[in-house]
């Protein structure tokens, strides 16, 4: 993304300079606007299958993404659009994939739940809850054996915490001192049920049980996430695997079209007060960056998305012969 107009690089004590916070805001806004567009395309029937939006959780993807280096790898979830965008996925090929087109990132074979871009270390969204952790652990093993100096990150929701593979992964990462970071996006919901009906433990307790340092952060404050992520990524890179728990908000349903009869109106208004974009706007204002000065960036984002959508709509559909060419057994 191009830089907007020059802004003062004044920083609060222990905070981020305005320039960095502004870039993080821009990254969150890109994720938000992409997902809002996906929601419209899905409602209009242009996206096959089903999609899970991360609206309200953008600060986790943007903050952790900002703490990663290009060589670092990340395994994502079914709610993974933000992670892919934060890692730097090509927006044109992203939309082509979501629309099931031949030139999509996965040649139209994967879709929303399998967006991957190995060229930037994006190991893929995953349709199986918790399955990203063993894959990230394996990626961390590769980093350790090959001495790449890179870190492997696994994003997962609190809904994954009851999955056995998650526990096996935390144990192995700790046991082998892997360059591994587990990032839990705790939004209080595992699909259609609240966390307290699914989990007898807490992630803090689980991390302690596996001898893993646990860091708790307001997952809707992108500045706090970024600062925490920088610390835990550096620790993980030094062979001290970490758990980062980000308290966040799933504004939409489990999937687009979810009637959400299981949620209260009180929760909706509480979530609105914690909107990560609004929090960042407020923080920027305190640093002397007014909301009006953010407009050019928003317009640029909208234009980029519109162009990507236009290209995706015009993209060719894959043929069965092309899909079958990817079959080896």
């Amino acid at each position: 993304m191009k830089q907007g107009p020059a802004v003062p690089s004044r920083a609060r004590s222990n905070g981020l300079p305005a320039r960095e916070l502004r870039a993080l805001y821009g990254r969150m806004l890109l994720i938000r606007r992409v997902e809002e567009q996906l929601g419209r395309l899905f409602a209009d029937g242009e996206i096959p299958g089903f999609i899970h939006l991360s609206i309200g959780q953008e600060a986790v993807a943007a903050g952790v993404g900002a703490a990663l280096e290009p060589r670092d790898t990340a395994a994502s979830t079914h709610r993974g659009h933000g992670h892919a965008i934060a890692k730097g996925v090509d927006l044109d090929r992203f939309f082509l994939e979501l629309l099931g087109k031949q030139d999509g990132l996965c040649r139209g074979r994967g879709g929303s739940m399998h967006v991957a871009d190995l060229s930037i270390g994006m190991l893929g969204a995953n349709g199986i809850v918790g399955a990203g952790l063993p894959i990230a652990v394996g990626s961390a093993i590769a980093h350790q054996v090959r001495k790449t100096g890179a870190v492997a990150v696994a994003f997962f929701g609190d809904g994954a915490l009851a999955e056995g593979a998650v526990h096996e992964s935390l144990n192995l990462a700790a046991l082998w001192k892997l360059p591994f970071l587990a990032v839990c996006e705790n939004n209080g919901w595992g699909e259609f049920s609240p966390t307290d009906r699914q989990l007898a433990a807490t992630l803090e307790g689980l991390a302690a049980a596996y001898n893993l340092p646990w860091t708790d952060v307001d997952g809707n404050d992108v500045e706090a996430v970024t600062l925490a992520a920088r610390h835990v990524v550096a620790e993980a890179r030094a062979g001290r695997p970490q758990v980062l728990e980000c308290r966040t908000t799933r504004v939409r349903g489990h999937f687009e079209g979810d009637p959400q009869k299981y949620r209260s109106t009180e929760e909706a208004s509480a979530m609105a007060a914690r909107d990560p974009l609004a929090i960042a706007v407020k923080a920027l204002a305190a640093l002397g960056v007014g909301e009006a000065s953010l407009q050019p960036e928003a317009a640029e984002i909208d234009a980029r998305i519109a162009a990507a959508v236009a290209r995706a709509r015009a993209g060719a559909l894959p043929g069965m012969a092309q899909a079958r060419a990817g079959v080896y057994a």
């Binding site: 790898t73 395994a75 994939e97 999509g104 990132l105 996965c106 040649r107 139209g108 074979r109 994967g110 399998h114 991957a116 871009d117 190995l118 060229s119 190991l123 893929g124 995953n126 349709g127 199986i128 399955a131 952790l133 063993p134 894959i135 990230a136 652990v137 394996g138 990626s139 961390a140 093993i141 590769a142 980093h143 350790q144 054996v145 090959r146 492997a152 056995g164 593979a165 096996e168 992964s169 144990n171 192995l172 046991l175 082998w176 990817g326 079959v327 080896y328 057994a329």
Partner: protein
């Protein structure tokens, strides 16, 4: 030429692959310091170090899932699952991750991993340590499945499996570990998907794999005393399997028996029989007969297990049926 045990041939294949390629690593329960429950990996820790030969916790889901991630990250993991029955604990990693990654990510990555695992009876190990589950895995697009019957094939096919850019399940019949056979020097190289004629014959074809090849050979010997010359085809590779070789043999003999240790119903034999009933219909002069274990859990008791595992008598009787 040197006489080598089956387990030793696998050990040598692992050692040679690791010496040839620094990206090959081994993962598994008790494979490093203890040398493996069947001593297959003995000595490899000393040769290659703890970074590349790793004792894992008893946690099959993450062992296999991490192998997928490691394979996508530039390594060639060879993971051992102590008994094939335990692949049940790693089915997500195998079926949803390893088998799918290359396809669903649009060919951006391959998953060059091998999962070695022993199957089969003979140890009275009971219902949870004796199963032959290879048909499950052969049913999943994206997994290759290999099952050798002798030391030379074990060596060559394991080297080929490790060199393969895709996930390969390498199935070792426990009853074969102590088997001796010739391992040529230099050892053979081969590719996956090619069957071998274990015994030529003109009257009937017996298709088999793994330890059941030896059962088929015994049956062929017995039949020869009745002047019936059975041809034994050792599939060696189940996914992909050598349809052309089976069809060519059928075209010579016009009779077909498929024999394996796995339960008969819904098995590898069903697939082969169905294909041959289709593409080989004009060649058939008798019914295609399958020989497999009965449709029941593998029983523990000595006499029960002995009766459970398909015998040479059963295979010979099946051949006689096709000739009747």
């Amino acid at each position: 030429m040197a006489e080598t045990r089956f387990a030793r041939a696998i050990n040598q294949a692992l050692a040679d692959a690791m010496a040839a390629d620094a990206s090959v690593i081994l993962l598994g329960e008790d494979i490093a310091a203890p040398g493996g429950p069947f001593s297959v990996t003995r000595g490899l820790l000393d040769k290659f170090g703890a970074d590349r030969v790793r004792d894992t916790p008893i946690a099959e889901a993450v062992i296999v899932g991490a192998s997928v991630g490691a394979a996508m990250g530039g390594l060639k993991p060879v993971v051992e699952i102590m008994f094939m029955d335990f692949v049940t604990l790693a089915m997500d990693a195998l079926v949803n991750q390893a088998a799918k990654a290359r396809f669903m990510f649009g060919d951006q990555t391959t998953v060059p991993m091998v999962l070695r695992t022993p199957h089969g009876g003979g140890l009275n190990a009971g219902p949870q340590h004796s199963q032959c589950l290879e048909a499950w895995l052969a049913h999943v697009p994206g997994l290759k499945v290999v099952c050798p019957s002798n030391p030379a094939d074990a060596y060559a096919l394991l080297r080929a499996a490790i060199d393969d850019p895709n996930p390969v399940i390498f199935v070792e019949n426990k009853a074969l570990y102590a088997m001796k056979g010739e391992l040529p020097d230099p050892p053979p190289s081969d590719r996956l998907g090619v069957a071998r004629t274990a015994r030529p014959g003109r009257d009937a074809t017996i298709v088999s794999y793994g330890a059941a090849v030896h059962t088929a050979l015994k049956a062929a010997e017995a039949l020869a005393r009745e002047s019936v010359e059975a041809e034994v085809i050792d599939l060696r590779s189940l996914q992909p399997w050598d349809e052309a070789a089976v069809l060519a043999s059928l075209a010579r003999t016009h009779r077909l028996v498929v024999a394996h240790e796995a339960v008969e119903a819904f098995g590898v034999g069903a697939e082969i029989a169905a294909r041959m009933a289709d593409v080989g219909f004009d060649e058939l002069d008798g019914p295609i007969v399958r020989v497999g274990a009965p449709f029941m859990p593998v029983p523990f008791g000595k006499t029960l297990e002995a009766e459970y595992v398909p015998s040479a008598d059963a295979v010979a009787a099946a051949v006689r049926r096709t000739l009747a």
